[in-house]
Each structure stands twice: as C-alpha cells, then as structure tokens.
C-alpha cells in the first residue's frame, strides 16, 4: 500500500491533513492541540482545526471517534461531565474560551447548541423560545419578547405551523417540529456559533430535509458546526468537512475535496464504506 512509487495513493499520516480553500470565510473558531480526557482515558488527541464563520462545517467519522466530544468542547458542555478534562487551546474570535476569566454562561449564550434528540422543555412553545431571551434579559417588555419569539420561529421555518398555538406544550409537536423548535430556541439568544450534534438522527427523511434546508438558510448569518453520521448529509449541507477517527482529526478540507479526492487512506476507506 505505502509504496513510494504510488504517490497518488492515499497514505496514513500522523499529522492532520489540511486542505486549504482560498475562498474560505474568516476564521471564527479555532482549536490548537486540543486533547480531552475522561478520567484516565484520552478521548481526543491534539486536534487542531480552523472553522470559518457564515458557513457550515461538518464533522464525520465512525461512532466513538471523538467528534461529539470535540463539538461539546466548543461551548464547554464537557464541563458538566464529571472527570472530563480539556487541554490545549480553543478560541472564539481569538479569545481563549478556557480562560478562567471567561464566563462560561456568557460563552454558551454566544455558542448555541442543538442536541441529537429533540429536547424541548415541558413548557409552551412560546415559553420554550422565550426561555433564553428571558434569562439573558434580551427583551425589555412583552411586545419585544413577542417579536423575538416570532422572528426566531420564522428563522426556524416553524412560524406558519405554530403561530396559532403558541400556548400549546412544545412536547406536543412532531419530532421534526420539536427539533426545529430547539433550533429556534437556540437562535433566539442570537448566538454567533450554532453547534448541532446529529440533529437529524431521530427524524424521518421529510423532517430531515426540512432541517437541512433550515441549516442552509441559517449559514448566511451563523457559523454552524454539525456532527453527522450521514455522509450524504455532510455532502449536502456543509462547505467544509472534518474527518475524525479514533480521537484523531485525520483530514479537514472543502467538502467536495473530502468526498471526491481524500488524501488520507482512512478517509478514503470511510467515505467509500470500507468501515464505519
């Protein structure tokens, strides 16, 4: 396999292969040599990556490869897990997010997150959206709050479906609607970055298509990072793709490049369905 003569053949490399893109937007989130440990076990090894603003970056890789772990480092959700330790440097707008002087609550308001399973609060649709703006004091009066709720629901493409029943419980919506409600909830606090952890894995194909459409619209204003098990989804929605394997970031580059001309053997094997 690793014959020197066959220079075109993808090869294993210890270093992350980075394929640059001249049209890439300015960098919003950057990680440098980030390692994550759960107790004694190391889950992520020296990940370095630059993530551009106003575009979609997808993380792909087999289960347990550390892509979700890395995603949860970006809004420090890993802090809520006992025994989890993060080393290295992650910056948001060139500021270290693990700096002790940084307020983690404020960070999470700037870096929203959508989870694998829709998790609306057991409250009304209105209260679900208004939750974030209320705790952060983003609206000074009721009509302003109404405006935030409406615009968030519109951005999530849910307004027309729920405008007549804002007082109904959010848990009464269908799975796809619930997930869009969660996206609207994240959008309502005006984050800069939205992290999505397999947002469509619990949804049917039609709901998935709607959420993907929504992601495509949202990328005009937000830096979106999505973890997905579906390579088709990564190919459809993202501009850049990062491939993780066994806690290592193997290759990162423009999506079409990763899917058509992977440089690393493992990336090649994964996208051609050899493993994963």
């Amino acid at each position: 396999m690793n014959q020197a003569a066959n220079a075109e053949a993808p090869a294993r490399s210890a270093e992350t292969i980075v394929v640059d893109d001249p049209n890439m937007n300015p960098i919003r989130v950057a990680a440098k040599d980030t390692s994550v440990y759960y107790g004694q076990k190391q889950a992520l090894f020296d990940v370095s990556i630059d993530i551009p603003e106003r575009s979609v970056t997808s993380f792909i890789g087999p289960s347990g490869c550390g892509k979700s772990t890395f995603l949860r480092c970006i809004n420090r959700m890993n802090d809520t897990i006992d025994g989890c330790r993060v080393e290295g440097l992650i910056t948001l707008d060139e500021r270290n997010i693990y700096d002790p002087s940084l307020d983690v609550v404020e960070l999470r308001a700037r870096v929203g997150m959508v989870f694998q399973k829709p998790n609306p609060f057991p409250k009304s649709i209105y209260d679900n959206i208004a939750y974030g703006p209320r705790i952060h004091g983003l609206a000074t009066n009721k009509s302003e709050l109404d405006g935030v709720v409406e615009s968030s629901l519109r951005k999530a493409g849910l307004w027309e479906e729920v405008k007549d029943r804002l007082d109904d419980p959010g848990t009464g919506l269908s799975g796809g609607q619930q997930q869009r409600l969660c996206i609207a909830r994240a959008v309502a606090v005006s984050p800069e970055v939205i992290l999505m952890d397999e947002p469509c894995s619990a949804l049917d194909p039609i709901a998935t298509a709607k959420v993907e459409e929504l992601i495509d619209e949202l990328k005009e204003n937000y830096c979106i990072i999505i973890v997905t098990h579906s390579m088709q989804q990564a190919a459809r929605v993202s501009q850049r793709t990062a491939f993780f394997h066994l806690g290592i970031l193997v290759e990162v580059g423009p999506t079409e490049h990763i899917f058509t001309n992977p440089k690393d053997e493992r990336t090649h094997d994964y996208i051609t369905g050899r493993f994963g």
């Binding site: 006992d82 999470r108 399973k117 609060f121 974030g132 705790i135 909830r185 606090v189």
Partner: protein, 463 residues
C-alpha cells in the same frame, strides 16, 4: 392439631406434584394414554397443576373450619344448656357462663363448678374432639378426591401450563385483596365505634366545639370534669405542629436534594446520602428525648433571654424536631424526582447559557414537581399521624391557639391518653378516641386527594 393438618396438606401436595409429574413424564415418553400426541405442557406443570388443586382448596377449607368451629360449638353448647342456667341472663352473662365452661374444660378451675357446668364442660370437650377429627377426615377426603379428579384431567393435550398460571393469578389476586380487605375492616371498625360515640355526643358539638375536656368520670366515685368534646382545639394543635414541621422540613429537604443532585461532588454525595438514611432510621422515641431534653429547654431559654415567656411544652419545639424527622422523606423523594428528569432537558437549558440555579428553578423543579409534591405529602401525613414525639414533647391541654410558643395538644396525643389507663367502651371518653381517629383519617384522605388533583393539573409533562 391444626399444625399437623397443615403439614399433612403440604405432604399430600408434594405427593400430588409427583403423581402429576410422573403422568407428564409418561405422556412425553409415549407410554401413557393418548400416546403419540404432541404433549402441550412440560411434566413439571402437570405436577404443579395437581399439587395446587390438592393443596389450595384443602388449605382454604381448614382455615374456614378453624375460623367457624368456635362459633358453631358455642351455639350448640348454649342450646344444650339447661334452661335454669341461661334463664334471664344478659348477653354478657351468657358469655361469662361460656368462658367458665371453657375454663373448666381446660382444667383452669377458679371456683367449685356446679354440676351443670361440669357436664357442659364434658360435652364441650367431646364436641371439640369430634370437630377436630372431622376436620382432619374431611380435609384428607377432599385432598384425595381433588388428586383423583385433577389426575383424571391430565392428558397429553391438557393445558396444564395455562391452568397452573390461572391458579397462580387467582392466588395473587387473593394476596392483593388482603390489604384492601384489611383497610376496609379498619375503616369499618373506626366508623362503627365512632358512630357509638356520636350517639352520645352530637356530631356538630364534636366537629365545631371549641372546648376539649374529655376526662370525665368512669365510676361514680371518681372526681372529674363534666366533659366537653369539641375537637377544634385538638385539630388546630395538630395542624400547628404539622405546619411548623413542614416549615422546617420542606425547604431543608428540597435544598438538600438540589445540592445533592446538581452541586455536590460524588464524594460528598456518597457521605451525605447514607447519613440521611440513618436520620430516617432513628426511632421516633429517640427524637422525643431530643425534643424534651434539648430542644424544648433551648427554646425556652432563648425565649426568656429575649424576655418572652415560652411554655415548657411549646409547639415550636415539638414541630421543629418533627420537621427534622421528616427531612429524609422529602429530600430522598425529591432527589429521586430530580434525577428522573431527563439529562437532555438540563443540557438544553445549560447550552442556552442558563446558570445551574436558573436551570434548576426553571426547568428541573417544574419537571420534578409531581415527585416532589409526593414527597411533601408523604411527609405531611407522617407529620399529622406522628405520635411519639408529640406524646413526649407536646402538651396535654387542648388550648385553642396558633401561637407557636404556647403549649398545644394533638389528635394522636389525645388518642393515646384516652386509650391508656382506665378504659370503658361504653363511655364517651374512650369512644372519643375512635371519633378522633376517624376524622384524622378523613382529613389525611382529603389532603391526599386534593394534592393529587393539583399535581395532575399543574404537572409539566415530559416525554
């Protein structure tokens, strides 16, 4: 004798099991009747089927027999007594004669029995022996018939497995009925005795009366009060002490649960939880010491230092100690309820930039509310029904007050004082205990029903 009968039932059931099982074995090996057919049940089920049909009916029969035998013999004995003995006797007089006959029969002779009594005792002994042996014979006959019939029903296609399950489910229904029947029995006896009381004291006077002085004379030569049976002061006392207890226990219990679920490290949690369980295991009488010897004097000293006169048996001391007692109920049930809230809910809130306190107040507590309310209610009924602490630490005089540093009495304390010492079951003094018990029961029942409705209406459903 009865013990031997039960042993016999057990032995015959085991025999029945082996009879059925060997029949089943023959079906499988294809040597018995109906050979060649596909066998429906395993041999063990055939055995179990025969065993339960041998054992259970005989067991029920013997129980019923033992239960009814005494009454039947008593009635026969009374009918056989010469008229001169029973003539003009009241019901309790006849009971006395019966117990004298039984004492003589058992050889416990307190005074020289009359010839009539002696002959009646001999009759009694003979009948008892007949009844005993009749029971054994009937039980054995019944078991043998059951064994033959059950064995006769066995065949390769017989559904012994399903039939056995039917018997088992009947047994389970019976077991679950025991608790229900006992409850009904307790309520019925309460209602019966309480209705006796209400024939002597008007219902309205009891429910709305403002004076409680139940220490009336039982005998003509006793010096005692005229008596007043107004339950309001007693119930105010109960509610006051329970209220103080809830005031102490609810915040402490819920905050403890929140701390343990959300803030504590695993090490702290591993230490605090067992200690809370020890607190739940302390006998209430020990809490009683604590209330009388430490808390009550401390409350009184603090009061006198501040220039306030505090009664030695203050409601505050009893209620506070009771509150400490019920903290573990509230904290452990709230802890369970909070932990049952899906983790994704909490993560969702944290990811929106909420602090842990905001997450707790706005997401976790509303979602866990039904469970927490359950804990509070359980604690409340414990507080209202709690006896030992208040017997030791609360007062005996029913004063109508809501002042926590005054002495009050509670329903349970009054029941204890009414039913200890001299009692007579046709005096309102004693019967009042049942009326109090009945009202207490109704109050806690209503409380539970109302709270359940509230929980159903306001719970925030997840999933």
């Amino acid at each position: 004798m009865a013990g031997y009968v039960f042993l016999l039932i057990l032995i015959l059931s085991v025999v029945g099991y082996y009879v059925g099982r060997s029949a089943g074995n023959r079906f499988i090996s294809g040597t018995g009747a109906g050979a060649g057919q596909v066998v429906h049940s395993l041999p063990g089920y055939h055995g179990a089927f025969v065993a339960v049909w041998v054992g259970i009916p005989a067991f029920v029969l013997v129980l019923l027999w033992l239960f009814l035998q005494g009454t039947v013999i008593d009635n026969l004995l009374l009918a056989s007594l010469p008229a001169s003995l029973t003539e003009g006797q009241s019901a309790s007089g006849i009971q006395l004669i019966l117990s004298e006959i039984k004492n003589v029969a058992a050889g416990r002779i307190f005074k020289e029995p009359t010839p009539e009594i002696e002959s009646a005792a001999a009759v009694y002994l003979r009948w008892e022996a007949i009844a005993r042996w009749a029971m054994v014979v009937v039980a054995i006959a019944m078991m043998l018939i059951a064994m033959v019939v059950a064995r006769g029903r066995l065949s390769p296609r017989f559904r012994a497995r399903n039939n056995f399950e039917f018997v088992l489910s009947a047994l389970m229904i019976f077991c679950s009925m025991i608790a229900i029947i006992t409850t009904i029995g307790i309520v019925a006896s309460l209602v019966f005795e309480a209705s006796e009381f209400f024939r002597r004291v008007p219902f309205n006077e009891f429910l709305f009366g403002l004076r409680w002085e139940p220490q009336i004379a039982l005998r003509a030569d006793q010096v005692a009060g005229k008596g007043a049976f107004g339950a309001i002061p007693v119930f105010t006392g109960t509610l006051l002490i329970a209220f103080i207890a809830m005031l102490v226990a609810t915040p402490i219990g819920i905050y403890t649960a929140i701390y343990l679920v959300e803030y504590s490290s695993d090490r702290v949690r591993a230490t605090v939880k067992p200690i809370m369980e020890i607190l739940a295991g302390i006998p209430t009488v020990v809490y009683g010491f604590f209330a009388v010897l430490i808390v009550a004097p401390a409350v009184r000293d603090t009061g006198s230092a501040l220039g306030i006169a505090v009664s030695p048996n203050s409601a505050l001391a009893a209620g506070a100690v009771m509150g400490i007692m019920i903290i573990p109920f509230i904290s452990s049930l709230s802890d369970d309820a909070l932990k049952a809230v899906p983790r994704t809910m909490r993560d969702g809130s944290l990811a929106l930039g909420a602090t842990r306190a905001e997450t707790m107040v706005k997401v976790m507590l509303p979602a866990a509310l039904p469970g927490i309310m359950g804990g509070i209610l359980l604690a409340m009924s414990r507080a209202i029904g709690e006896t030992m602490i208040v017997v030791m630490a609360a007062g005996l005089i029913a004063s109508l007050t809501v002042n926590p540093i005054d002495s009050v009495t509670t329903v349970t304390v009054q029941i204890v004082t009414l039913l200890t010492g001299d009692t007579e079951f046709d005096s309102p003094k004693t019967l009042a205990a049942f009326a109090l018990g009945l009202v207490l029961f109704v109050v806690t029942l209503c409380l539970n029903v109302v709270a359940l409705r509230i929980v159903q209406k306001y719970r925030e459903q997840y999933e």
